[in-house]
Amino acid sequence: MRQWRKVLFIWILFFLLSGCGAHRVKRDLIVLLPDPDGKGGVITVTTQGGSETLDKSGYAIEIKDPNQPPIAPQPIEEKEITGIFGPALSTLPDPASRFVLIILHFERDTTKLTHESKGSLAEILRTIKSRRSNEIYVVGHTDLVGKEAYNAGLSSRRANHVRNLLVSNGIKPNTLFVSFYGKARPLVPTQDEVPEPRNRRVEVIVR
C-alpha cells in the first residue's frame, strides 16, 4: 500500500513539473509576416532588459524574461504560425480595398523624375480617378547623401513638384496632403553619404 502511495506521489510530482515546463515554453512571441505592400517592414521589440529588431518575414522574437533583452530573431515554421495564430489571421479584414501606393523616383539631387517614373504619373492619375479619391498623400524623401537640412529642402521640393504636376492635371488641391522627411526615412537602409536611386523618391498614396 505504501509503495502505491509513493508511486502516486511521484506520478503527481512528475505531472506538476511537466506542467510547469510546458508553461515555460509558452512565451510571448512576435512574428514578422510578409508585408502586403511588398515594402519591407521593421519591428522593434523593447523589454526592460534591452531591445531587438525584427526585419525578416518568417522570423520570430521571443521574450523569456522581461528583465532580459528579447531573444534574437529565429526562423519560425509556417505550421507553427498557423497553429498559434490561425484564428486571428483568418479574422483579419480583407486589405483589398485599402490604399494604393505608387513610388516615383528622381534623378540625383534634382526634382526631375526618372524616365520610368514619368510613366507612373499617368497611373497615379488613373488610380485617383477610378477610386474617386479625395485623399491623396504626397510624401517626399531623399537618399543619404548630404546634410539633413539640405535634404529636408530637397524632399520638400520633390513632393511639391509632384503635387503641382497633379494639380496641373486637374486634381483638386484640397485633396492633396504634402509632407516630406529628407533623409530620415530611406526605403533601402544605407550608410550615410551613400547614393541610392531607390531612396530618391516621392511616395504617392491614393486612398
Binding site: D28, P36, G41, T44, L89, P93, I205
Partner: protein, 157 residues
C-alpha cells in the same frame, strides 16, 4: 507618527481619486469620434466601453479607450480609420488607448495595449506617414511598428 502615516495614506488615496476623475473627464471629451469599425466577428467577442459590455457585431463603431475581448473560440477583426487592420484570436484582450489620424493637422498616433492572447496586425496609413508613431505595449515589452504585417502572442499574467 501613526496619525501622520494615516494622514499620508488619506492624502494619497485622495490624489488617486482626483487623478481618476481628471482622466475620466479628459477621456469623456475625447471619446466621441469613431476611430475604427468591426468588420469580422466569430464566436464570443465583446467591447467594453466605460464599464459597459457590448456584444461585438459587424459594423459596430469603436472609440478611443475601448477594450476588445474574445472568449474561447471567439475572434474579432477591425479596420481603423487609417486602414490599419487588427484582429484578435480566442481568449484575448486589448485596449485601444489612443488612436489619432488627423492628416490636416499632421497628427498621427496609435497606442494599443495587448493584455493577453493573440493579435494580427497590418499597418495602415499612419505607419506610412509617421512611422515612429505606432506602438503596441504588452505586459513584457513595447513593440514599435514601422509599416508591416505581424502577429504576436501575449501570455498575460
Amino acid at each position: 507618527m501613526n496619525g501622520n502615516g494615516l494622514m499620508r495614506l488619506f492624502l494619497f488615496l485622495l490624489m488617486i481619486l482626483f487623478s481618476f476623475s481628471i482622466t475620466g473627464e479628459a477621456t469623456f471629451a475625447d471619446t466621441s469620434p469613431t476611430i475604427a469599425t468591426v468588420q469580422k466577428v466569430s464566436g464570443m467577442a465583446t467591447v467594453v466601453r466605460q464599464g459597459r459590455t457590448i456584444s461585438a457585431q459587424i459594423g459596430l463603431e469603436l472609440y478611443q479607450n475601448d477594450t476588445l475581448r474574445t472568449g474561447p473560440g471567439g475572434s474579432i477583426g477591425v479596420v481603423f480609420n487609417d486602414d490599419t487592420l487588427l484582429s484578435l484570436g480566442p481568449e484575448s484582450m486589448l485596449v485601444i488607448d489612443e488612436f489619432v489620424f488627423a492628416p490636416r493637422q499632421g497628427k498621427f498616433s496609435i497606442a494599443i495595449r495587448m493584455l493577453k492572447g493573440t493579435v494580427a496586425y497590418v499597418s495602415g496609413l499612419i505607419s506610412k506617414l509617421a512611422p515612429e508613431s505606432a506602438h503596441i505595449e504588452t505586459p513584457t515589452a513595447s513593440i514599435g511598428i514601422r509599416g508591416t504585417k505581424f502577429v504576436a502572442r501575449v501570455e498575460g499574467d
